[in-house]
């Protein structure tokens, strides 16, 4: 593997604002190579967005504690002072948000917001910046780009706004794009268009992308690699292909099973993961997924679980990986066939 452009090592984020500290991100390590797209998937509250925001140090400084190391292009983000940080934000790394209507300033036109961002980072004239904004709007294929520059966010449709948001994010030619559920708030048809646009831009501009989503389909569409997060930890990480074909962490298995894909027949019950994610202010000892896991045994409930390497680029944070070994079988069948005659824990045959 080449030298990663983004390297996160043992990242921890704790929110200290409330009565009890909330451990939102716990020991996350992730590399993104230049020009690589990595998807971060998991349910709400699993720490995906917090991890992303930590990369730009956007979590509220007073109410959160950051640990670990973040290197972007060899520079230590944690050590940046205010000046370096504001040059880094938007310049080297840019972010796309889930709901562009909320993430754009409602009382400035989109053109003005792009011009402002460009001029913040580069010493160009207003006219030059505006010309570039127009170029960007055309690049993300906004129809009648010129007049759209003078629109306020509320005057655009959802898909158009997200395109404008992407244009804004790309305005200073960043090398790292952090996309925080960029398609969640969009219509299904528009989602695909935006995903295709993102993939195209990523290839053309050689961007490194972290793409947060809870839509596995979208992750496969865009990403080279997928990391699955649960309760603030990455529980499994593999190439998109490996993760879909041979998931190994029980949570990933559950996630893939609980997907309503086209094979669903009317009347069949959708497999869901029982229980709810743990309270991040009160994490259990051991594996945080253990209380919901059909494979868990006593050993899972004591002490932290380390990442286990399963193959090139494939790793999972589980002590019972021997039980989840799939003999190249569809994920839905995996639990029933798991292990070589090993006795399954109760309830595993669901």
């Amino acid at each position: 593997m080449t030298v990663p452009f983004l390297s996160i090592r043992n990242l921890g984020v704790t929110f200290t604002g409330g009565t009890r500290p909330v451990r939102a991100v716990n020991d996350v390590s992730l590399d993104v190579a230049p020009g690589e797209a990595v998807a971060l998937i998991g349910e709400s509250g699993s720490g995906k967005s917090v991890t992303m925001r930590a990369v730009m140090r956007l979590n509220p400084e007073k109410r959160s504690k950051l640990e670990g190391q973040i290197l972007v292009g060899g520079r230590d983000v944690m050590a940046m002072d205010t000046r370096a940080l504001s040059g880094f934000r938007g310049g080297e790394a840019a972010m796309i948000f889930q709901e562009p209507l909320l993430a754009l300033d409602p009382v400035y036109t989109l053109g003005d917001q792009i011009v402002e961002t460009i001029r913040r980072h580069e010493p160009v004239s207003r006219a030059e910046a505006r010309a570039r904004a127009l170029e960007l709007f055309e690049r993300v294929r906004i129809p009648s780009a010129k007049s759209r520059l003078d629109n306020y966010p509320h005057e655009m449709s959802g898909g158009m706004r997200q395109r404008a948001m992407i244009a804004l994010a790309l305005s200073c030619r960043p090398k790292l794009l952090l996309a925080d559920e960029p398609t969640t708030a969009l219509d299904a048809t528009v989602q695909i268009q935006v995903l295709l646009l993102l993939r195209e831009l990523q290839r053309d501009l050689g961007l490194s992308i972290i793409f947060v989503t809870h839509d596995i389909g979208a992750a496969v569409e865009v990403a080279d690699r997928i990391a699955v997060m649960y309760a603030g930890q990455i529980v499994e990480e593999a190439s998109a292909r490996d993760l879909i074909r041979s998931p190994r962490h029980p949570y990933t298995l559950g996630l893939l099973k609980s997907r309503a894909h086209d094979a669903m027949v009317k009347g069949t019950k959708l497999d869901a993961i029982p229980g709810a994610p743990p309270d991040l202010a009160n994490l259990p000892d051991g594996c945080p997924f253990a209380p919901r896991c059909t494979y868990a045994d006593a050993g899972c409930k004591t002490g932290p679980v380390a990442m286990q390497t399963l193959g090139p680029g494939h790793q999972a944070r589980c002590l019972r990986l021997d039980q989840t070994q799939p003999p190249a079988m569809a994920p839905a069948m995996a639990p029933a066939m798991a292990g070589d005659g090993a006795i399954l824990p109760g309830g595993a045959g669901v």
């Binding site: 925001r53 310049g91 972010m95 993430a103």
Partner: protein
């Protein structure tokens, strides 16, 4: 934008008509005989009737209203019963004085209120916020006439720095923009500014806290904007509401400063209303209220138009 403004101006016509009806009705349903102040206690019934006919009080209410409204539309608000002077000129002079005082007070209140509000909103729940919020609550809740009297005692009676009452040397003479006249304005203006200061500070604090909690602020930081840059965005987002509150406050101060104007003997609408009420001077009372209501409507119109210019989400 122009169409919106015109439409808003046309909408004010029915509002103004309603205002004139209410203002006329309120004054006439209140108890008391308007002629009592100018009639001697032992006046004959004949004299009473003659005066009543002269002022038109013997006609039916609708008749009186139409006559009054018709003249008012031509700028004639009748004659003051107590002084015999035309109401229009009395009111205009008083409105001029009050407008000046209210404008200065609102300006001071707006500047201080915004300052306290932004500080409190930016550092919400810090000791700084507590102090600024305490100042705002003080402004809203302290009795202003009391504050005025305390200030008169301290700065006029004890220290002798500033004049205690009036709008200029030698009573309520002509206003001039010189230091001497301005010194008469300092105490009432500062006392009056406490009201809008408190209300604007509280509004701005809530506004700023709400804006800062919105996602677009993270979006702005993610683009690399400095804290100053983010602050400017917050200001533009807070401006429409802050201005609206300021406009309403100015409107209140135009007519609602009776107590402060009385404490400082400021010859404005408050004092005029005060004396009109006590002397049962119906034409003067009607005229003053109508003019104040007119100001209020015009002010709201101005605020609405300004708001729509600042906030694109308000439909033009």
């Amino acid at each position: 934008m122009l169409g919106y403004t015109l439409r808003r101006i046309i909408y004010t016509a029915p509002v103004l008509f309603g205002v004139s009806v209410v203002c006329f009705a309120l004054v006439h349903i209140s108890p008391g005989d308007p002629l009592i102040s100018i009639l001697p206690a032992d006046a004959s019934v004949e004299l009473q009737d003659r005066l009543r006919t002269l002022y038109g009080f013997d006609r039916s209410y609708p008749e009186q209203f139409i006559l009054w409204l018709g003249r008012a539309l031509q700028g004639d608000l009748g004659t003051s019963i107590a002084t015999g002077r035309p109401v229009t000129s009395e009111v205009i002079r008083a409105v001029g004085n009050t407008l000046m005082l209210a404008a200065v007070a609102t300006f001071i209140g707006f500047v201080l209120g915004c300052f306290f509000g932004f500080v409190a909103g930016y550092f919400s729940n810090s000791p700084l916020d507590k102090a600024a919020s305490a100042a705002a609550v003080f402004g809203v809740s302290v009795p202003h006439y009391w504050l005025g009297m305390v200030r008169v005692i301290i700065f006029s009676a004890q220290l002798g720095w500033l004049p205690a009452a009036g709008a200029g040397p030698g009573g309520s003479g002509q206003w001039k923009f010189d230091l001497e006249h301005l010194s008469y304005m300092i105490l009432p203006a500062i006392t009056m500014s406490v009201i809008p200061m408190g209300i604007i500070a509280r509004t701005v604090r809530a506004l700023v806290a709400e804006i800062l909690a919105q996602e677009f602020v993270i979006g702005l930081r993610a683009r690399g904007l400095s804290e100053l840059g983010v602050f400017l965005h917050v200001v533009k987002n807070a401006a429409p509401t802050a201005l609206a509150v300021m406009g309403v406050q100015l409107g209140y101060l135009l007519g609602g400063s009776i107590l402060i104007e009385t404490v400082f003997s400021w010859p404005g609408t408050g004092m005029l209303l005060n004396s009109a009420i006590f002397q049962r001077d119906l034409p003067l009372l009607q005229g003053t209220i109508l003019v104040l209501a007119l100001f209020f409507v015009v002010l709201n119109l101005a605020v609405d138009v300004m708001q729509s210019a600042l906030d694109p989400r308000i439909k033009r």
